[in-house]
Amino acid sequence: MKSPLTLDVLFHIGPLPITEPVLATWIIMALLTVGAWLSTRRLSLQPSRFQAFLELIVETVDGQIRDTMQVEPGLYRAFIGTLFLFIFVANWSELIPGVEPPTAHVETDAALALLVFVGVIYFGVRASGLQGYLATFASPTPFMIPLNFVESLTRTFSLLVRLFGNVMSGVFVIGIVLSLAGLLVPIPLMALDLLTGAVQAYIFAVLAMVFIAGAISEGKPREKEHERTTA
């Protein structure tokens, strides 16, 4: 049985080995980018069916951001929406025969989790300044600084392990069942995998929202307390 932790090198660009998940990631990125460019080229006020479908996606993402983060979604739509769409398409890319989801390898998930880690810092600093963001580590008391610091690392790690474990275990189980039973037997498992893939994409995006919301709202707890005492 092939280990899920090893990678096949497909070809080299100069000294750089290009592996299977990297190529799959590039293809998905290209598809999403070109698709987004082509489909938003001719927008009209009276939307066609396809445009209405796209608007439905964007409005759903907006609604989720509004519900979860309690802020206007404009600033965060691009980051959260791209994360969700990419992970969703990557998880469902196993529908194409011969394609293994790039999220089933730990490197892709590590990159995505790192993006969230950097994104939290970026949006936190942007919302309340460097000092305000650093002050969130000392809330509620300065004794919590080491714990809060460790938490920001471990939650990134758990984001990585969660996505990797879920997608990889699905692919792994299908491989085992296929080698034991035969051609059509793993189909129910694949259907279950599609559900897991969609839920994991949603959860990754929601957790990214929750982390960012924590970084931008904890930056100004003083004002809130002030409001509460004066109200």
């Binding site: 280990s3 899920p4 932790l5 090893t6 392990v161 969660r162 474990g165 839920v199 959860i203």
Partner: protein, 81 residues
């Protein structure tokens, strides 16, 4: 097959089997509580199920940690090479 690889295989099996017990019980309780809440307040079903999904993902991570440990023992064991 030496003792070390035997111990790794048994360790991996124990990690997955016992690591699944806790999250299974916890997920059962979480879903039961969410069902109860939705039955009492059907209009809050959206908020409840969103929170439920996030909570379930958090709980499930514990089982996934065990799975990853088991895979590390089986495929990337530092003691076996």
């Amino acid at each position: 097959m030496n003792w070390l690889s035997l111990a790794s295989i048994i360790g991996a099996a124990i990690a997955v089997s016992f690591g699944a017990i806790g999250p299974a019980l916890a997920e059962g309780r979480a879903v039961a509580a969410a069902m109860d809440a939705i039955a009492r307040q059907p209009e809050a079903a959206n908020t409840i199920s969103r929170t439920l999904f996030v909570g379930l993902a958090m709980i499930e991570t514990m089982a996934i940690y065990c799975l990853v440990i088991a895979l590390l023992l089986l495929f990337a064991n530092p003691l076996l090479k």
